[in-house]
Symmetry: C3
Subunit: 457 residues, 3 copies
């Protein structure tokens, strides 16, 4: 049986966390947007680690109710006071420019400038992150106290950007498994210097893909690194006929901060991914909550739109928008933490363990309990209470009636999936269980090894 | 879309409440019973406000397991001490006489009189309300302290009543709508000077009928003003073949006191009226609870008897019997309050809004989200959190899959029905939704206006 | 209608409890095990009270995945110090010997002896109960402080036991009822001097069988007095074809201690026995909890194995293993209490009352309420609140639609089953209900007495 989570634990969480954070630091300075060279450079850095197929979709391509927008690129942007001093400088912090700003180079009075300025009065030291993808506009974001300090007078305003026909870029890493049924892992790659909100997902997803790469997997895995909303819609529009392969999916976002986990269920609400995530989080050792689906959030909005209704949930730590750092310059490299990134990867591996190992078995000795003692699967001296691992075996035996999956049994017993899965493995090795095939075909027992078990040995 | 609740709010709750209370004050002095001139006078006063069809059912008419009883009328009743002083006087308070008392005129000793006296020892200043409809008897109700103060001696006892063949009277106001499917609003009109327990329901139901009158309604509405139990049984017996038209129903009772709302579900437990009432109460801004059905209470007992099992719930404020004023002289005009009466009417209108507007829609752009921004249905600057009304639009779009009704969506989102309904209306106006017909016929979109929408314009 | 619980109450709980405790005291000294003369003597003492059919199953008989083991008998066992003093003596307390010890007679040093000694360091004065049924071994159990006090030197070790081909013994009391559908009551009889853990179940089950004996019963009742695990497996193996008769079942164990009740549901989770037990416990007047099924515990493990999945729950007081006395010499005659034993029998009779009386009725006057007043089933003076018994009648009338059983109605109303059952009986006597037959045959009313009611008269 696959036990990625145990393998990861053996690597050491501190080390894993440092690696994730270092990758985030490398990606941090890039000015990403939903199109343009920022996202291209990001894809190239991911491609250096995992096999990534890049797609370039031309401006103007219709994608469902949307159209691929013009491509945006930017070299520089600033507001300079009359003495030439830059009071807001794109080179210092790419959040200063309203993302997707049209080019402008002009001199104007403060009162003309002000309608183009965005600030956060409640957090006067932070720069907000604002965008204007679909309405042509330009603007600057700056700390509120800095805006207040602007003196009357003329300002030179320069945004050296281009907004022209070009392409929308996204990356896709496909790891084929035994089945063409897929697990989709999706994260957005369209935010500039925001660490938790995009880099945490990007880095964990990349590491998970590295970790799964080269293994003999039950499912195929598809990792999407895409611009939010328009990217997911574009990908869905181009893959409309094949999304039926997606059996389980997870949007990864905001999984590097110090908060506990939040898993938002898919629109279906009881999909296997929803139950797998809840079961893993119940036993992950960190504070964790599950929430019902809602149609506002990240790209689960698109995957769970009613025409698709895919079984895709969303794994977060602090719920986006619940902490003031969200969409501000305070979502920086200090806001994400190595151990939290590693813990998120750990939860992802444990979820993959559930998906890979979840099966239905059949107890081959279903009348009364089989005699575990003579197989050295019980305690030999009676009278004492049994240990948790023996308890797990009894649960697997009792509910392996061909109907209940290991995940069903883990849920009902309150024991961790890994304990239940290990018990099933041991009982199977001892000839007490057969595997119930998903497709209704012949059941496998240990004595009749199949292609599946041969491949593993 | 119909928004009665908003219209009512525009009238001003204080004004609406004063009108309701004034009508209650007009009705208060009448000595009503399950038959007789008291209920006839009450019907006449309601008929002055709304179109009311009166029925007179002869004594002796078999109605299911019951028989319409003799008609009771009363002119006067008193107990007088030997000096001629009235110690209990019907003219002062009609509760003094045991309702449905047979005529009596005699002089008797205190010990002969006492078995005919009813008091409330726990509330020695209040007169209890007691009845003896089906066992011929006579009696007086008086304050406990007054009973204790009666001195030995002879008393003149007079009840100037008649109990003869006659009729049972009830009133019915039918407002036809587009469909013959009906909403039933029922309240009892058989209690003498009790304000919360009968007048609150009578006045609110009358105002609701006035308010609905002359509108283009989806459903037909039937308001019943009937004597409790025997009236409902009589009406059901006479309309047994057509009660199948009742799609939703509400018994209104005890809705004028200072307590929070209690909605008692229909026997079905998950009827649309049950869900509509719960959803409205969740957002009504007053304390509110829902309770499961039980077979004791008001006329929902009859509508929800197993042979009918109609989807009829019961809206109350304080649960009858839970406050000591119940069925005593303390349930007077001070016990009901103008703002509480108005608030109850407001909840009724909001429930009607749900029933009238609840439909299933189909998202015409179900693959990914439609681009709300270019329709001015989204915020143009990205990065900030969205407002509740936009959130409502996303909920309606995501769950308008032809299966979920607006009420389903309101329940699932936790948003108010009116917000969801307004969102659906706006999306429909923008061509993003079609209406799923209840009868499986062709779906309507904005571009193909139907009889329904034409009628509205 | 049967009302065993009321009959039992009339006998007086104190007296009933004393009798139960006296029987437990008689059984206490016997050294029982899963085979041998100890369980045979126990069966004989039960047989003196109720008709018991004994089975003797030969060693070596295959029973599903198990084999009936050799028969164990023991005459004496001791550890004697070099001065001949017995430091552990089977005659003083039969727990001193590891149950199923092979014979041994040798002299050995303390260090050779120690691996054969079992103690409880946390409770140094108590003797633990340990067994070695399926791995040939020998050993002694003793108080921890006594073990620590053993001085170096040689010890004479003697276990005068036999472990030879023989038989496994169990007893079965079958009380035939009107139907061949059975209620199974099972308890284990394989523990030596342990009072709560086996004697409480044995004595209560015996008394229940005595109490039911000679009555006209709806169901047949089968009481099993068997060795734990292997006994249940043996019985199941020998009765595999007929266990389908078991409609309801209860394992009785650890029901004499001072704790509140715990009912562990059957694997099915919503079997009638599960609901009957929960309903009775909710109204039993003692603290009581219900727990979901788990595959570890007593013989419900076997009855609820997936091949059988019988509707068998387990009634306990303190959950085995939750109190330190479990499986130690402290589970003695003081640990079980007369009133607790009687209270457990009382709950068992109430559960039998539910099973015997639970039926579906049909309201013969389902349109509106029938007029209870003219049948003297209501209060004649109106206006006051109704009593609980009248409320029970309204519940039975409203939900006797042919679908809801009395247990359904008791659950939904929150009223006790006995109140509901008495209400149904009274309404049936008044011709207001018919009995809905389980088999779909003709309905019975009072006017058409059937074989069933004739038998009762």
């Amino acid at each position: 049986m696959m036990n990625l989570r145990k393998e990861l634990d053996q690597r050491g969480m501190a080390k894993v966390g440092e690696e994730l954070h270092r990758f985030a630091a490398d990606l941090y300075p890039i000015c990403r947007s939903i199109t343009g060279d920022g996202i291209r450079r990001t894809m190239a850095m991911i491609q250096a680690r995992i096999p990534l197929q890049l797609s370039e979709v031309p401006t103007g391509t219709p994608v469902f109710d949307w159209t691929v927008p013009k491509e945006w690129n930017i070299r520089d942007a600033y507001i300079a006071s009359s003495d030439g001093k830059r009071v807001a400088d794109f080179r210092t912090c790419n959040l200063h420019v309203l993302n997707y700003s049209t080019p402008v180079h002009a001199t104007m009075s403060l009162s003309e400038l002000k309608p183009h300025l965005f600030t956060i009065p409640e957090h006067p030291d932070w720069v907000p992150y604002r965008t204007s993808y679909y309405k042509e506009s330009w603007g600057f974001c700056l700390p509120h106290h800095q805006m207040l300090a602007l003196e009357d007078g003329d300002y030179e305003v320069c945004i050296d950007s281009t907004l022209d026909d070009g392409h929308l870029t996204y990356g896709e890493c496909y790891l084929p498994g035994q089945s063409t049924d897929e697990v989709l892992i999706s994260c957005h790659a369209c935010h500039p210097s925001l660490a938790n909100d995009n880099l945490s997902g990007l880095t964990v997803a990349t590491s998970l893909a590295q970790f799964l790469s080269g293994r003999d997997l039950r499912y195929s895995y598809r990792f999407l690194f895409i611009p939010g909303t328009i990217g997911a819609i574009t990908w869905l529009a181009r893959n409309r006929e094949t999304v039926g392969h997606i059996r389980h999916g997870l949007v990864l976002t905001c999984i590097g901060d110090a908060g506990g986990f939040h898993y938002k269920k898919s629109r279906r609400g009881n999909a296997e991914i929803d139950r797998a995530a809840a079961c893993v989080l119940n036993h992950c050792g960190e504070s964790a909550e599950t929430a019902e689906f809602s149609p506002y959030g990240y790209d689960e909005r698109q995957y769970c739109s009613p025409g698709f209704n895919l079984p895709v949930g969303c794994l977060m730590r602090s719920i986006w928008g619940s902490c003031p750092e969200y969409h501000t310059s305070a979502d920086d490299l200090d806001f994400i933490r190595p151990l939290q990134l590693a813990g998120s990867l750990r939860v992802c591996t444990a979820i993959v363990d559930v998906l890979e190992n979840n099966r239905r078995y059949r107890n081959l000795s279903p009348y009364g309990e089989p005699q575990l003692g003579r197989r050295n699967l019980y305690c030999s001296t009676g009278g004492d209470t049994i240990a948790t691992d023996i308890n797990g075996r009894l649960w697997v035996l009792n509910f392996s009636d061909g109907e209940h999956s290991l995940l069903d049994i883990a849920e009902r017993s309150g024991l961790s999936f890994s304990l239940i899965s290990e018990a099933a493995d041991l009982l199977y090795q001892n000839g007490l269980l057969s595997v119930v095939p998903d497709d209704g075909g012949g059941e496998k027992t240990l004595d009749e090894p199949t292609h599946d078990t041969l491949q593993h040995s």
